[in-house]
Every structure is written in C-alpha cells, then in structure tokens.
C-alpha cells in the first residue's frame, strides 16, 4: 500500500516501527518487549501512568538510550539502535518534558539552531558572510520567520528564552523542532504545566502541523481530553509493558487500561 509518487513510505504504512524493544538500567526494567508502529501522517499518542516508560520509549526512538534488545525501523531502515545525530539527520525531531532550550540564546537563535543540519556552506564562507553562505543564511532565516509567524511568537523573537514564561518556552521549543522540517515529531508532554487557554493553543498548533505540513506526530500526554481529541491511535504502557493499542475509543473502554489508571480491587 504505497501512495503514488512517494519513494519512501506510503500512507497507512509504518513510518516507524519499534519491535520487541527491551531496555533496563542496571537490572531495573524500563521497557519490556515493547512493539508498536507509527503510520505516516497520524498523531500517535503514548499514554500510561507515571513511570510507565513513555519518555524512555521516546529516548530509545531518538537515540538517547540504547535498548538491550529489539529493533527500530524508520523509513524502511532497520537499526538495533539509533544515535541522536542519526535520528535527527534522518528526520526525527523532538521536544522535552522539561523544556530543553538553549537558555542563553534568543528565541530566534534557538529556532535557527534547528536548521543546523540543513546548512551546508563551508566555514570559510560563513566567516566572511558573503557569497553562497549569505544567500543560504537568508533562505534559512526566511523559513524560520515562517515558523515564528505560524506559532505567533514574532513579538518575542529577540528575547533570551530563559526570560520567557513557561508556555512560550514550550512554543519556542516546538518551533525549534519544526525548523528541522521533520518527518516524525516526538512531543513529550507538550502541554504539561499549561493553563486551559495555552493548552487549546498548543492543540491547535499540533493539529495544524499535522494537517498543513503532513508531519507525523508521536505525543506523550497526561490530559486525556487532549489525547482523545488529537490522536488517531493510542498505545498504552504500564510498568514498561504495552497493555493496549488502538483507537482512542477502543483504548478508553479497555479493562486493562482502566485497571492501570484506577488500580485493581484486590
């Protein structure tokens, strides 16, 4: 099932698949035999109680953690593990649970940093700031300004991000990830600590990213309302194991999921 004109992965085919991944830290199992896939163009939610292994799973996907067992296939290429640099280069961008921005830099520079991989001109030209390097820098700036407009953060672009309120920092972080023009965007609790209005804004951006840019999104989120509204399919983890996988409606009525969240009567 490959969409015509698409060299890589077609709609409905798995953009990413994680097969039988196990990860432990000195004997403590963080993930046990987890398998799931993300289809091109969907919003895939990863949910579960605290400590279920959601962030560990993202860290495996983008290469921060090296799983002891299993395999990761992205765009048809299978690897025993990703390296962060490889992941970024092959089109995986992410945001972090506790905002990880370059605090000393302005919002603009942070988002420009997301273009690192796209810049190709040699050092010589960069130092001189003439010729091809200037053209390139200008082209990247234009792209970045588009993202800044999209996220409605033009008014803060010159402010060092360390001074911005939390909600705006999260938005800048999303901007940095978008600047990479990723095929797969990993969002680790993009709405944590936000008020209702900020959550609504962020939900709108996520849906726009999906619909306008066609970006595939993996989303960790605790707010069930958000998860149910945004996601196409949901995978549920508990104690490092996958306990459910399906559409929001299927997952919501799954007895194992209810037990995991509410506890089981003994």
């Amino acid at each position: 099932m490959r969409a015509p004109g698409d060299s890589g992965v077609g709609l409905d085919a798995a953009l990413l698949s994680v097969d039988n991944v196990s990860l432990s830290f000195g004997g403590v199992a963080a993930l046990t035999d987890v398998s799931f896939d993300i289809r091109k163009g969907e919003v895939r939610a990863i949910i579960g109680p605290n400590g279920a292994g959601k962030t560990s799973l993202l860290n495996v996907v983008n290469g921060f953690y090296r799983p002891q067992k299993g395999r990761i296939t992205f765009k048809g290429e299978a690897r025993p593990r990703m390296r962060p640099y490889e992941a970024a280069r092959s089109g995986i961008a992410r945001t972090f649970q506790n905002v990880a921005l370059f605090r000393g830099m302005t919002a603009l520079d942070n988002i420009m940093a997301g273009r690192s991989l796209k810049m190709r001109r040699g050092l010589f030209w960069q130092v001189l700031r003439i010729g091809p390097a200037l053209t390139e820098e200008v082209a990247h700036r234009r792209k970045v300004e588009d993202i800044i407009d999209f996220l409605e953060i033009a008014h803060i672009r010159r402010i060092p991000v360390g001074r911005l309120p939390y909600g705006l920092q999260k938005r800048v972080e999303l901007g940095r990830a978008l600047a990479m023009e990723p095929d797969l965007l990993l969002l680790d609790e993009p709405m944590a600590g936000m008020n209702l209005e900020e959550k609504e804004d962020m939900s709108r951006y996520i849906l726009d990213v999906k619909n306008e840019f066609g970006t595939t999104i993996a989303l960790i989120e605790h707010d069930m309302g958000v998860v149910m509204d945004l996601s196409d399919r949901v995978v549920v983890l508990d104690y490092g194991r996958k306990i459910a996988d399906g559409t929001p409606d299927e997952v919501r009525s799954d007895q194992k999921v209810i037990d995991a969240y509410l506890g089981v009567r003994h």
Partner: protein, 306 residues
C-alpha cells in the same frame, strides 16, 4: 614616581595577557561542555615541551606547525578515548577524568621529551624597548617578548571571537554549552563539537606555552602557571571569553602593582619582610570577588530555582 608605576603597570598588563591565554583555554572547554578542564595547565606544558624539543631539530615554523598537529591529535585522543564514554555523566566525574588526563600528560611529557629545562627560541628581539623618553627620565622599559605575546594574544582572541560568534559551529557550540540533549536532538553531533573545542583549547595551550616558554624557559613548573589562571577565572567568570581577558589583565597588573606599592608600605608600617605579595595577591582578590559577585565580573548570573 609616576614613571616606575606606569612601567610596572605596563609590565603587569603584558604578563596579564599571558594569564588570559591560559584562562581562555579553561573557558572554551567549560563553555562547551560544562567541564572544568584541570588538564589545561598540563596541556600548556606539554605543548611547550613538544615545541621546544622539536625546535631543536627543525626550523621553528615547522616545529610550531607540527606541535599544532600534535595538539589536535591529542584532542582527538581525549575525545575518542575518554569523553565519548562519559557523555551525560555528572560534572564531577568529567572533572576527575580531566584530573587524570592532567597527571598523565605531565608524566607522559617527561617520558617523551625528558625532564630538563629547555628553551624556545622564536628569534624575537630581546633588547628592551624604551618608550616616552622625553616625558619620563630614562623612559619606560618594555620587554619586547611580552609585547609580542600581547599582540599574538589579541589576534588569537579576535580570531576566536569571530569563529564562535559568526559561524554555524559557533552557534552549535553555544547550543551544546546550554543543553547537551537538546543540542543532540537537533542533530548537532556532540563528539564533533567536543573535538573542535578541545583542538582549539590545544592550540590556545600551544600559544600560551610558546609565550611562557620564551619568557621563562620550558620546565615542569610551567604547569603551575595554570594555577594562576584560577583566580583569573573567578574574577572573569568561567563562561566569559572577555572575562578571561579582563581577569588576566587585572590579575597581572594588580599583583605587580601590589608588589611595588603595597610591599614598601607593609615594610614601613608593620615592619614585615614585605616580599611575596605577587604570590598571594591574585587569590585574595579572587576571594573578595567570590564574596561579592560569585559569578565573576562577566559570568552569567547564577539563578537557581529552589
């Protein structure tokens, strides 16, 4: 009276430039990796030693180029063999690793090159220069070696400033300095950046070692010069390149002036012997700065959420 004081001040500032050079090496690595590189002093010594011994067998220009290559190779080895395996470890662990590197380099330098006192001859003019002879009786005496060192340092710093502010590598470096994981997530290869920073720190160590070597001769006490960089770093702030420069100048000028001006006063008022002020003045100054402004004169303000 003004003549000698001015002369001391200029001499102090020129020595201060050399302190700045050593401090600069610390700042570069600390900015990029949050590691306080205890091995910077050992790198200065190792570079000076390599240059001195190579200079005995080949023209000095060739020796400098070859030593630069050795320092880059050393940076590669440190990144490949040590740092790469310690990614995302705590700062203290990385610090201990650099401590190990420092002692290894100290010893390995002896193993390779021997432990005598060697000299570096750049063929620079050695006759003192006298300035403003019409204003001050006898003029102001300036050591040309120090003057050249200051010029070399200025050029080096200007070059580094351009490199780190303007280029993509500079932006990547600042990104890595702020947040390792985030930098990796946007595709900045950490190992590559560390290699560049250590190589640059190695080159800075070479320039510092060369200048100190010309001034004092190459011997193992040269590694101790690095200890003078500590108060410079506290003054200037660990993360600031301009801070390293200004801090070095303050320490250099301050300790010389203190020796000349404070010494005689201590002798007169308290009947002390009055010597050795140069040895402790910088540290007392650093302690005072720590009390008033712990982040240093130019360092980033330390804000910690509690």
């Amino acid at each position: 009276m003004l003549g000698p004081v001015l002369e001391t001040l200029i001499g102090g500032l020129l020595t201060g430039v050399l302190y700045s050079l050593v401090a600069l090496g610390f700042v570069l690595i600390f900015k990029a990796s949050g590691v306080f590189n205890f091995a910077q002093g050992a790198m200065v010594l190792f570079a000076a030693l390599t240059l001195a011994r190579l200079g005995e067998t080949m023209p000095i220009v060739a020796a400098i180029a070859l030593t630069a290559a050795v320092m880059i190779a050393l940076a590669y080895a440190i990144e490949r063999l040590v740092l790469r395996h310690l990614v995302n470890q705590e700062g203290m662990i990385l610090f201990m690793a650099t401590l190990g590197i420092a002692y290894f380099l100290d010893g390995f330098g002896q193993t390779l090159w021997g432990s005598d006192i060697y000299k570096i001859d750049l063929g620079m003019p050695r006759d003192p220069i006298f300035l403003l002879e019409s204003v001050f009786p006898g003029g102001l005496l300036i050591d040309p070696t120090e003057l050249i060192a200051a010029v070399v340092c200025a050029v080096l710093v200007a070059g580094l400033a351009v490199f780190f502010q303007v280029t993509r590598i500079g932006r990547a470096l600042r990104a890595v300095a702020d947040d390792h994981q985030a930098a990796q997530s946007v595709g900045i290869p950490l190992d590559y950046i560390w290699l560049i920073v250590w190589a640059v720190a190695g080159i800075v160590a070479l320039v510092a070692g060369m200048m100190w070597g010309v001034k004092l001769g190459v011997q193992f006490s040269l590694g101790q010069v690095a200890l003078k960089a500590l108060p410079v770093l506290i003054l200037g702030g660990l993360t600031s390149i301009p801070g390293a420069i200004v801090g070095g100048l303050i320490v250099g000028a301050g300790e010389k002036l203190a020796e000349v001006l404070l010494g005689p006063l201590l002798v007169r008022w308290f009947d002390l012997a009055g010597g050795g002020i140069e040895n402790w003045f910088a540290y007392v100054l650093a302690l005072l700065v720590l009390l008033v402004r712990p982040q240093g004169l130019f360092g980033e303000k330390i804000i910690e959420r509690v």
